[in-house]
Symmetry: C2
Subunit: 253 residues, 2 copies
């Protein structure tokens, strides 16, 4: 049932994330977006603004998953090297895409901006790429093969995902149920492990977190098999109820 | 000057980040922490709760960087498999560390918790590992070789970094300067590229962002060479001033 589901990876590109200067918000957005259309995000990486690093990561990820989404490094300045790195990964030359040139020239004319060499770099894509629409600031992203290259600015990236989504094969939605358990992860562990064994098509995760009144645990069940999910959910709720009645759910650990 | 600086990678472990359920905060914390002690964070990865995925990522990263920091997957439940995965990466057996057993037994006694098998799993570490102190909830992390294995709950991970930091070789601090530029990244691109070429020991990044009154750009200069940094900073400020006087800094792109 979970075979043949489309899978994905995300590659965040930029020194600013690794230096701590920018706190990434793109991974969470893409993760939510893909979950909502039934695509399994399997891996993410963050690499610095170095062409070889980017190209190696692109090749490691694009061969392994149905789709690869990248963010960052497609602007007009010297540190924007994603286009060249992706072209290198594919062994393709880079050219000024005629449609992108047209879009940018019209935009710069309208905005009273000089279409200088740096700005027109934003029309460069690997040969054979198709453009990704940017309704926010016009400079397009691009798709080459199964790789979608998007801007790093969250507002622009989020808008680009609308155009990208049309090109993706949707999977069967992963459904989820959640039981908040007031602590005692160590008490829940054994019965929870037994429930997990009884329902192999349901993935059960146990996530401790800090609630206002102390540590608590979210027990999260995820599956594409609705019947198994409901049965496992009932079993987890019974288990949590039993623990509470035994007075074991008294805080974290 | 930047040779021999300690480098690092981060490995975030957990389905909950890839499913979008949890928005990661650990990468940003570790990035800031390392920047403050002069260690260059070079790469980060997020992998799912699968032993082979974790082990492969650990081996890819630990051989390549001075340090590897992992977060997540060291609790008492069936989905906590980081210890086994790291042991597998090193080809080491896992045992119950006597000191960890003692810490946990004392803690569970104090808290009135049953020291059941699941809870005592949190004393398991690869043979030869040293413990990482957990002042929040006692269950320790561990260090094996150049790999530091920490909890995924931010409050616990942040506290563990205090113990970890004592074991790290600090580097020369990266210093930074920043110029906020009211737009015109495309106008700044050419002179900025020339300044970058003139100061190869300074890394200049250009980061567009959305300001309340439209898009703007942060020009960030980073270097371990204080003289070069100040000279490049002066050059960037002059450039930004010139752009403004030419009336070119009128918005983004």
């Amino acid at each position: 049932m979970t075979d043949q589901q489309p899978t994905a990876a995300v590659l965040l590109i930029g020194d600013e994330i690794l230096s701590g200067r920018t706190k990434d918000k793109n991974l969470g957005f893409i993760a939510d977006y893909l979950a909502a259309i039934g695509i399994d995000l399997k891996e993410a990486r963050v690499v610095s603004d170095q062409e070889e690093e980017i190209a190696n990561a692109v090749n490691a990820l694009r061969h392994r998953y149905t789709y690869l989404f990248t963010t960052g490094g497609i602007g007009p300045t010297h540190d924007d090297i994603t286009t060249d790195a992706v072209a290198r990964a594919f062994g393709l030359p880079v050219h000024h895409d005629p449609q992108a040139v047209e879009i940018l020239l019209a935009y710069f004319r309208e905005m009273g901006r000089e279409p200088n060499e740096a700005r027109m770099r934003m029309a460069r894509v690997p040969q054979g790429a198709s453009l990704i629409d940017n309704p926010v600031s016009k400079a397009p992203g691009f798709q080459i093969g199964n790789v979608f290259v998007m801007a790093g600015v969250p507002k622009i990236m989020n808008a680009m995902m609308e155009d990208v989504a049309k090109r993706l094969t949707r999977g069967v939605l992963m459904q989820s149920r959640q039981v908040e358990f007031r602590g005692g992860e160590g008490d829940a562990a054994k019965p929870l492990g037994e429930i997990q064994k009884a329902f192999p098509t349901v993935v059960i995760g146990s996530y401790p977190f800090q609630a206002p009144d102390g540590f608590a645990t979210n027990l999260v069940l995820r599956s594409r098999d609705a019947d198994a999910l409901e049965q496992a959910y009932a079993a987890v709720r019974r288990m949590a109820q039993d623990m509470t009645e035994q007075g074991k759910a008294r805080g974290w650990a």
